[in-house]
Amino acid sequence: MNAAIRVRQVAKRYGKVQALAGVDLDVTSGEFFGLLGPNGAGKTTLISALAGLVRPDQGTLEVMGYDVIRQYRDARRNLGVVPQELVFDPFFTVRETLRLQSGYFGIRHNDDWIDEILAHLDLTPKADANMRALSGGMKRRVLVAQALVHRPPVIVLDEPTAGVDVELRQGLWQFVRRLNQAGHTIVLTTHYLEEAETLCGRIAMMKAGRVVALDTTANLLRLHSQHSLKIRLANAGALPERLAERAKSIAPGQFVLPLESYDEMGGIFAALQAAGLSIDDFDLAKPDLEDVFVAVMAGA
């Protein structure tokens, strides 16, 4: 498979802050890729370098095989970026904004495609509204639309759902998923880890300008997180010794038992019954990206 994005040894310093400290990254064509990390990790700086908005101090970046500096025209034609900041030009309407953006990319008569994007993003009724008159969520969707006018094979979304309500988020993800199914490479940064978990096939985690974890979502979950069984015993009871050894007590009478597989559950319940303990409540916890994130950030 060919690389949609290729990042080699990219470093960028702002005064005393090393925003990027030698980043290597490959995203394969057609992937749905997640870029996670706490605030200040360098995600936006990396995306800006990819988009040619920031010149790295060292290293190279390519989009669909085109160097973002030497072959900037081809690189930019292949890249659509939804910026993190909610920016807009108050002089224009939604449609004017999208027509202008098409024009900058050298595309004339783009109205059919513009109408299609507007429809997918539920913006059709606002097509002729001035940008100023839109809510934050709508402005965000116009930014998405702007990133798509030139049908870029690689689409990068920098926290596109920050401040967007749940319903809109669902709609947006549906649309982005469709784009991915149609062959677009998607790179996504988000603070909503559950979104990343369900959407992304592969994930890179960044911290202090470095990639500190990079694997498929499934592998990350397997490595850093487990299924577990949470039990609350009646009358703040204590676990039989054999179970207590492997359990973590989180409150009087409440325990978390890590599971290698669901098959162990029968044995656990049998042991409790044999000890004459009765269960008030129990809960099955699946591995989740939050655990992985916490573990990776603590270890890195």
Partner: protein, 251 residues
């Protein structure tokens, strides 16, 4: 090419949509200058034989409007885009820095020319104007607008805040335009200021522009042309270099 045309179109649309502020207002300002200065000075000042002060003043005012508005157009557009962040809309597409430069400067020239035309329209019916060498009028409009448009690009990119841009305007652009012979022939200035005017490129723009109307000027229009054209080329080279390096735009 279409990318460049779109950016030019956007820049023109931007001032045209608010034409009341960007065209009508400066035309009115120029007419007020004319009213006040010609009323107070018509009798006392005579710059050239057989030419009323008011007639002398009009081309200077037109040119001053061209210059100030060309500067205002590129500088305010850029700083607004930077401050609001929507500058990225033109930084993400595959536009070259030459296209970027040309679009902003051409739009600035156009805004200057439209305002200049407005001032001419507002004055030509009440002032006796001649058109001795109309091509010089066109040439100096383009060069003057181009120079101030390029200066506006530099100022708009350099300034981080609106007050820095205002400082650039008040401490560089305004003195240059006022000490350039808009209101007087520089021969009437004291020797020091006269000397200073001679190194002011705006003096040559206005003097050459005025030659286009009356066929008379302080220096030969060819000299003015040479000075202005060289200045434009130097400034364009400097601006292009700044853009090529991504100064302040691509950090």
């Amino acid at each position: 090419m279409h990318g460049f045309r779109t950016l030019l179109y956007k820049e023109v649309l931007r001032f045209w949509k608010v034409g009341f502020q960007t065209v009508a207002a400066p035309v009115l300002t120029a007419l007020l200058y004319l009213l006040v200065f010609s009323h107070t000075l018509e009798r006392q000042v005579r710059v050239y034989e057989n030419l009323s002060y008011t007639s002398f003043l009009v081309p200077g005012l037109i040119m001053m409007s061209v210059l100030q508005n060309a500067f205002a157009n590129s500088s305010s557009s850029l700083i607004q885009s930077k401050v609001t962040g929507n500058i990225i809309f033109v930084l993400l597409p595959p536009l070259s820095y030459r296209e970027f430069f040309s679009a902003y400067v051409l739009a600035a020239v156009l805004r200057g020319a439209v305002v200049g035309f407005g001032v001419w329209l507002g004055t030509c019916w009440m002032v006796d104007l001649q058109y001795a060498a109309p091509w010089w009028i066109v040439v100096f409009t383009l060069l003057g607008g181009g120079i101030l448009g390029a200066l506006g690009v530099i100022a708009g990119i350099w300034a981080d805040k609106f007050d820095q841009l205002a400082a650039f305007q008040n401490f560089i652009i305004m003195p240059l335009t006022f000490l350039s012979g808009v209101f007087f022939s520089i021969h009437s200035l004291p020797a020091f200021w006269h000397g200073l005017s001679r190194v002011n490129p705006v003096f040559y723009m206005i003097d050459g522009f005025r030659y286009g109307f009356f066929g008379r000027s302080d220096v030969s229009p060819w000299i003015s042309f040479a000075v202005t054209a060289c200045f434009f080329l130097l400034l364009a080279a400097a601006t292009l270099r700044m853009l090529a390096r991504g100064y302040k735009l691509r950090g």
